[in-house]
């Protein structure tokens, strides 16, 4: 079945450092979505990428969708303590239409 792999599992950074999480799918995706889950909270939608090679920015966050529509990345510039949480990528497979989540990357930011 479809798998969405995400690395790293954990990342500890000093406040002000950059952070990147990577996502790879075993199948071509019709789109990819990114979610943030704060400790004790539920996943909250951040962004959706649809086009091959698409790049979107939200303030300090940059999201990319690979040319083959099988991989994606989230980069945070100059992390802040408010960035703490688990970031999930989630892909919708072209053949099933189901949203499948990656394992998530938990970000800790030391002030």
């Amino acid at each position: 079945g479809q798998q969405v792999m995400q690395i790293p599992q954990y990342q500890h950074v000093q406040e002000g450092e950059d952070f990147t999480t990577y996502c790879n799918s075993s199948t071509t995706l019709s789109n990819i979505q990114w979610y943030k889950q704060r400790p004790g909270g539920h996943p909250v939608f951040l962004i959706q990428l649809v086009k091959s090679g698409e790049v979107k920015k939200q303030k300090r966050l940059t999201f990319q969708f690979g040319e083959a529509k099988k991989n994606s990345s989230l980069h945070i510039t100059a992390t802040q303590t408010t960035d703490v949480g688990t970031y999930f990528c989630a892909g919708i497979a072209s053949n099933t239409g189901k949203l499948i989540f990656g394992q998530g990357t938990t970000l800790q930011v030391k002030p």
């Binding site: 996943p43 949203l99 989540f101």
Partner: protein
């Protein structure tokens, strides 16, 4: 985006009993999704609930264990039956507003502990 009210927010249950989780959406949606998130893990899709038809279950999940109701376009329930400690998890409902670009909206989750 939609607003989802999910309850209960948490419960502690005895093994062998059942718990029904409810999700109410503030708008009509075609499909509702039920996910499970075990402690420190990712979200795993349990089933997709369509109004007027039986839910579609993912591999590893069966209707006898996780019966789902979808009586109308704004409401769904998931029952966790004959619970064991392995069912301790967070259960989340979610919806996708077709045609929007706001992704899936999740309920606040039900934190279930089976003792």
């Amino acid at each position: 985006s939609a607003v989802i009210s999910q309850k209960p927010s948490r419960d502690i249950c005895q093994r062998g009993t059942s718990l029904t989780i409810q999700c109410q959406v503030d708008s009509q949606v075609t499909m509702m999704f039920w996910y499970r998130q075990q402690p420190g893990q990712s979200l795993t899709l349990i089933a997709t609930a369509n109004q007027g038809s039986e839910a579609t279950y993912e591999s590893g999940f069966v209707i006898d264990k996780f019966p789902i109701s979808r009586p109308n376009l704004t409401f769904s329930t998931l029952t966790v039956s004959n619970m064991s400690p392995e069912d301790s998890s967070i259960y989340l409902c979610s919806v996708d507003i077709t045609g929007s670009e706001v992704g899936y909206t999740f309920g606040s989750g039900t934190r279930l502990t089976v003792v």
